[in-house]
Amino acid sequence: MDEKKYLTIDGRQIAIEGERNVLEVARKAGIEIPTFCYHSDLSVYGACRLCLVDIAGRGGVASCSTAPEPGMVVKTSTKQIRAMRKIAVELLLAAHDQSCTTCYKSTSCKLLDLANKLGVTKVRFKPGFERMPLDNSNPSLQRDNNKCILCGDCVRMCQEVQGIGVLDFAGRGSHSRVVPAFGKDLKNVECIYCGQCARICPTGAIIPKNEVSKAWELLDNPEYKTVATIAPAVRVGFGEAFGMPVGTDVTGKITAALKQLGFVAVFDTTFAADLTVVEEAEEFLRRVTAGGTLPQFTSCCPAWVKYAEQFYPELLPNLSSCRSPQAMFGAMAKEMLPKLFDVPREKVKIVSIMPCTAKKFEAQRPEFSRDGDRETEVVLTTQELIQMIKGAGIDFNAIEPEAMDLPLGFKTGAGVIFGVTGGVSEAALRYAYKKLTGKNLANVEFKEVRGDDGYRRAEITIGDNKVRVVVVHSLSNAHKICEEVKAGKADVDLIEVMACPGGCVGGAGQPVYVGMETRKQRAAGLYRVDRNMQLHSSEDNPYVKEAYQNILGTPNSHKAHELLHTHYQSRKRIQDEDVLVSGSDEAQEKLPVTICVGTSCFKRGSQQLLQELTDFLKENNLQDQVAIKATFCHERCDRGPTANVDGTIMEKCSFEALRAEVVKRLRSAVAK
């Protein structure tokens, strides 16, 4: 029975080797069956119908949902199927805002590509779609329902891979649309801006927000000293857009191109990654020795941080207080460069080149601004920089590589591998090894934490110590480990979380890619860079040492905390109006009382609190002096139930305490 089994596709015998479906078998054989909604890492949806093939005896079936069977005779392109595909594409185009010439996705749009391939020269149907407003109010992503073809890729990405479900279908039939809850903007819902929806979107319906013009504005202003910094993962994704093999390291070329664009200096966020390693590993060792909150979660992924703030406020003390490398870079650059360039702080502008859309959100967090001056002024994705370079007419393939500027352009291999899942852990382990044993590592590669599984466990022995590490990527896996930690069953000391599949190399700001192969090759590229570097441990970075000597003092010092650490806040998932429960809204003389009835508070008895207060007021004829509102979050979920009596937030609130506070306030109001 070990003999190979075969099926026939378009007259060719092809072996079945454990493929899930006919489409995969055909792909393996180099026969590309068109599809919008099939992705190997998402569930089978079967909605676009383009992958229909003819199977002898069964007629037209969707190849994405049909398991390969020995002896099957498959035809992928019969007359009937070609006609159907062409009509399907015409139908999609008729319901699509065909502003292709100005569309960001015009060069990577699957719909446009397929229309060309199928020879659609005219759309015979009447255009018909209800025009919907652009969702453009958040810093990271832009959503345009008029370009949505309802393939559901983003919906499944967010639900299945990220485990969140920000987007879903609403409405029915031709009124269907993909929207956040209640059709709100992404800004007002639980979106964490990882942008994986944009990455997988076949058209321009969800795209990273474009800030190229902002970058040009900075460069055009002679008063500014505008510098660029590039994240580790950018260097191995960039070359794809210029026909280079996936994973090619083009750091030098990017540096040269950035200089040509007019940046006064080009630095490396990897320098800050080295700082992060030192700070984070020190923090970890301190938690271990001083009995701090463990396990420690990494905090360099801004999408993960927002996720934790929204969904696991009770675990925020477990998050490393370290800023992300981007935010550390911003703080350090703003500290050092004004002196270097001899200009005021606000004249130094930092443009950060990131593989990531959530970094755009992170850069505008108020913690990372001083007096309204953002530490990182503009965040460009890899794709945006590619666009800038192409737009400036730079022949990237021909440009001679240049070296980055010092001091912030110097890095070690430990910082570089931040761009791939497991990299942060590995870098921290290298640091911890030396710190704990005082010895240099013979082999710096911790293969135990490498790999592509979404949830990996490793136990590393360092001298007499054992460090239990969990590395996760994709937030559905983060959810898993968070639940384990909450339940006290995690059995782990250090947890690395990256929101994007594969880590930053798979970020949504990178050139559009399909399938896992691309991101694996980018990861391999980063490991190659590490191998080719002279230094592999962050503490060996001479400029990091210098920074500690001149500015920061020791790791986790007061100054280090000021510049390199941050704090977190619980966040409301859905921004909405409070519900007036009792006491009309118009009267001004009323004592406002808000009680949280969000999930966490609800479980802790907020409903009863609400009822008891209402009853109390009614019994004592006080109902027209108090306006009670129910809200969904006071953002202190770990300390619920919470109530807000005219600005005073009461945590773990009992009815007695609430009653006392209300009565006190009413009395003082009467006294006045």
């Binding site: 639900q159 969140i164 479900g165 920000v166 987007l167 879903d168 279908f169 609403a170 409405g171 029915r172 929207v179 956040p180 809850a181 209640f182 059709g183 819902v189 639980e190 998932r573 859905i574 909405d576 109006e577 519900v579 007036l580 429960v581 009792s582 006491g583 009309s584 009835v597 969000g598 999930t599 609800f602 409903q607 609400l610 009822q611 209402t614 009614k618 109902q623 027209d624 009670i628 129910a630 969904f632």
Partner: protein, 163 residues
């Protein structure tokens, strides 16, 4: 004041409903049906509460609420007039009925409820009362073999009763 206090107890109603269905996300549809029965529509904040209580993404609850035609996210009128537009009713002239009723109430296909929220006019695909075609259901009472004149007369009756 009475009215507002009663809304406090109504807020408790959704919690009762959730408990009645064991806070089971699989019972989302019966829960939404019960919520709609209680509030006459599905208010956004109640849906958010349902979502968080069931540990479902709010977008999913919104998706379900907008998929089924029985659910409404806007308040419906006091009197609900449902016209059957099944095949039998259609071939026997249900369109004329619809036109007549809409004309009398000043409604269109897009605007289904009168501004004073006294009336909502809807069409349903089939009431299964084909023997009575064309059929109209007014506040759950089925009227069979309705003519446009009779339909308008039925509406007039309600208007007069409300006046």
């Amino acid at each position: 004041m009475e009215k507002e206090l009663s809304s406090a107890t109504q807020f408790g109603k959704v919690c009762e409903i959730l408990d009645r269905y064991d806070r089971d996300p699989a019972k989302l549809i019966p829960i939404l049906q019960a919520v709609q029965e209680e509030y006459r529509y599905l208010p956004e904040e109640i849906l958010t509460l349902v979502a968080t209580s069931l540990n479902l993404p709010p977008a999913k609850v919104y998706g379900v609420a907008t998929f089924y035609s029985h659910f409404t996210l806007t308040p419906k009128g006091k009197h609900i007039i449902r016209l059957c537009d099944g095949t039998a009713c259609h071939v026997k002239g249900s369109t004329a009925l619809l036109d007549a009723i809409r004309k009398r109430l000043g409604l269109t296909g897009k605007q289904q409820s009168t501004p004073d929220l006294l009336f909502t006019v809807e069409t349903v695909s089939c009431l299964g009362a084909c023997g009575l075609a064309p059929a109209v259901v007014i506040d759950d009472k089925v009227h069979g073999q309705v003519t446009p004149e009779k339909a308008v007369a039925l509406v007039e009756e309600l208007i007069n009763a409300e006046a």
